[in-house]
């Protein structure tokens, strides 16, 4: 089984890259490849799901114990969430900007992931599973929100400068991009709230090193507060358009920074290896 896991680990970035290329081709040409691009994305996700299951069975823990295991889950969550979004809204022209992120997460994961048979006992808890699952979907929401925010800025600038190229042709209109950015952020925020709540209840009981001044916890709180304020201000009509999407992008950049800092630079109870 180890051999299969290693093979899929190499194949996954290739699969994501090929899916990205199909989406790129669809974006650049007038030939609509709706069926084939969705088929290829679905196939990639199925292979990825098999990989996650095989790892879980073989190493006797879900792949959540370090940043590289989390990155592979994040790659899956982002693309999976996007596929659902594409099927529900039938939007065209934004997939490649999201799949490239999954590719980036996956290639980092594939390069550095290790075969960990020994993990700390608390990492086998079911409550932890819910905590991680909600956090990951939350991060996927935040990531997708940032991508739509970025696309909003690109289209906004194109329109302001009267550039009517591919972005003008292919992207949905500004209002739709703003909505996609906002609703993805709301979903991300709700799930992040669940993850934080479970974390605060569960972590002090299981982790002797738990501290409310932990850098990861503080970083996550900061992100949560930024998104919370942004959503409230949007709700009351105080924040919209360009400013709204900039808040989303800042939130995403902070999320990534927080994850990297807490895992590599600072000593956090979220570093499990």
């Amino acid at each position: 089984m180890i051999e299969t896991i290693h093979t899929i680990n190499i194949l996954l970035p290739i699969f994501y890259f090929l899916t990205f290329l199909i989406y790129l081709y669809d974006f650049q040409t007038d030939d609509k490849l709706t069926k084939s691009k969705r088929f290829f994305l679905s196939l990639t996700l199925v292979v990825h799901l098999v990989y996650i299951l095989l790892r879980t069975i073989e190493f006797d823990h879900p792949p959540i114990t370090n940043v590289f295991e989390v990155f592979t889950l994040l790659a899956f969550s982002v693309s999976f969430s996007y596929l659902i979004l594409e099927l529900v809204t039938n939007i065209r022209g934004t997939g490649l900007f999201i799949i490239i992120l999954s590719f980036a997460f996956q290639i980092v994961s594939s390069l550095f992931i290790k075969d960990l048979f020994q993990v700390r006992e608390e990492l086998r808890s079911n409550l932890l599973g819910i905590h991680v699952f909600s956090a990951l979907i939350g991060y996927a929401g935040i990531t997708i929100s940032a991508v739509y925010g970025f696309l909003y800025l690109l289209l906004y600038d194109s329109l302001k400068q009267n550039k009517f190229g591919l972005l003008f042709d292919r992207l949905p209109n500004l209002e739709i991009l703003e909505k996609l950015c906002f609703y993805s952020a709301v979903i991300g925020f709700i799930l992040l709230t669940i993850a934080i709540t479970i974390g605060i209840i569960w972590l002090p009981q299981t982790n002797i090193n738990f501290s409310y001044t932990d850098p990861k916890l503080l970083g996550t709180f900061l992100i949560w507060i930024i998104y919370g304020i942004g959503i409230l201000r949007k709700f009351y009509g105080k924040l919209r358009g360009r400013k709204l999407v900039i808040v989303s992008i800042i939130g995403f950049l902070l999320t990534i920074s927080s994850t990297i800092l807490s895992n590599f630079l600072a000593k956090s109870f979220h570093s499990f290896y």
Binding site: D30, L155, K160, F164, N173, L174, I176, G241, R242
Partner: protein, 427 residues
């Protein structure tokens, strides 16, 4: 069968000349009657702002293009139009021309989607006046199918190709739902009127007009059921609108950056789209620096139009492929008409022999076997005729051996005694 066609169009004649030969619906009916008398057995007249065309099957081979041209010119009683201003088509060229026409690739604005309806209406009018016969009925079916295929299988009709539509396309790139937006049209000349009508068609929630001559704005407002603001104070209402289209004949700027800035402050910087389609411009171009103001003048809208036209031009090979495919299908159908009387006659002959022999010998079979006898003998006939039928159809479609095929068909008629077909053909 002598099928011919003439066309005076945007490629061959000026708008004045085209206008002089344009036919209204009454004239179309009368001209159809004239043509039916002794020139065309069946046919079609198409008359739009860009073309007037007569296409049909003549009563005799001696009827030429000049007959059609002179009939049209005499009917319209115009002078100074030479035969050189007409494009002329013969036989399958007529069909190919109609195929190209209905797909829009022959139009002045490539992919013009109005032409499909115009050609369809022309066929309908001809049909109502019994001008559509056996052949043109088939041509009509092919045309309608090809027109639909071009729209669904290619992007030949996609994208805005007029300034007013380009403005609407731009607006739709900013706002998702026009039914929740309000628009102000400044200037109710021809351009402003077209823009107002486009926005109305797109379902904009609230439309208002303003014009230096209030009466003119009021008249259009009644027609479109919109509000009207006096020109003197329309600036006070600017903040209420998400879309502003300006198309006046003013020589000076009507709206300054400061006017737009004030409106934006009042509307809490909600996005606003400004399409300034006037020449010279009505609105200070520097307003595009204000956040959430999307300003476009006629030059930027022309870029959209030109890009869309180029995209449509890029689709022409795809449409031509459809036309080629359907033209082959049409030729096959036409050729099959030559052999189908022979096939029909051959089958009738074999069937009559079979029926006669079965009738003569039916008593030699038990009652319970008689039905089987019918089935078996019919099967034998079908099997015997299957190969000759296939071969005859092949002859029909082998355009490289027309003379040989004529001989082959005549041999088939001769050896099977199918001479009655000659009489049918004569009729």
């Amino acid at each position: 069968m002598n099928i011919i066609g003439i066309s005076i169009n945007h490629r061959t004649a000026s708008v004045e000349l085209r206008e002089s030969l344009n036919l209204n619906s009454d004239e179309l009916k009368n001209l159809i009657s004239t043509l039916k008398q002794n020139i065309l057995k069946e046919g079609l007249i198409i008359s739009t702002c860009n073309r007037t065309e007569i296409l049909g099957i003549t009563y005799s081979d001696s009827i030429s293009f000049d007959n059609l041209i002179s009939t049209l010119i005499n009917f319209k009683k115009v002078n100074g139009i030479s035969s050189d201003l007409f494009e002329k088509y013969r036989s399958l060229q007529v069909v190919e021309h109609l195929f190209r026409l209905i797909t829009g690739i022959d139009s002045m604005l490539v992919g013009d989607n109005q032409i499909f309806k115009q050609v369809k209406d022309s066929f309908q009018l001809a049909d109502e006046h019994n001008f559509i016969g056996f052949y043109f009925k088939k041509i009509m079916d092919f045309c309608l199918r090809i027109g639909k295929r071009a729209i669904t299988e290619t992007s030949i009709s996609e994208g805005a190709v007029t300034i007013s539509f380009a403005a609407v396309q731009l607006i739709e790139k900013i706002f998702a739902n026009l039914s929740k937006k309000s628009a102000l049209i400044i200037g109710t000349g021809e351009t402003g009127e077209i823009a107002a009508k486009h926005l109305r068609e797109k379902g904009v929630a609230r439309l208002a007009l303003t014009n230096r001559t209030f009466d003119k704005a009021e008249k259009l407002a009644k027609e479109l059921n919109t509000a009207v603001f006096p020109f003197d104070n329309f600036k006070e209402h600017l903040h209420k609108f998400d879309i502003i289209i300006s198309a006046t004949g003013s020589q000076n700027v009507i709206l300054t950056k400061d006017d737009i800035e004030k409106a934006m402050t009042k509307r809490n910087y909600e996005p606003i789209v400004i399409a300034d389609i006037a020449v010279p411009r009505d609105i200070d171009i520097s307003c595009r620096d204000i956040e959430n103001v999307f300003y476009n003048d006629i030059d930027s809208l022309k870029i959209i139009v030109e890009q869309n036209l180029q995209k449509r031009r890029n689709e022409i090979p795809k449409v031509e492929k459809i036309i080629e495919e359907e033209l082959n299908n049409f030729s096959e159908w036409l050729n099959s008409l030559q052999v189908s009387p022979i096939i029909k006659s051959l089958r009738e002959k074999f069937e009559s022999i079979r029926a006669e022999e079965v009738a003569n010998n039916i008593n030699k079979f038990a009652a319970e076997d008689r039905e089987k006898l019918e089935i078996v003998t019919k099967k034998i006939i079908n099997k015997l005729l299957h190969y000759p039928t296939v071969e005859l159809k092949k002859y029909a479609n082998d355009e490289n051996a027309q003379d040989l095929n004529r001989i082959r068909l005549s041999v088939v008629k001769e050896i099977f005694g199918l001479n009655s077909i000659k009489d049918e053909e004569k009729n």
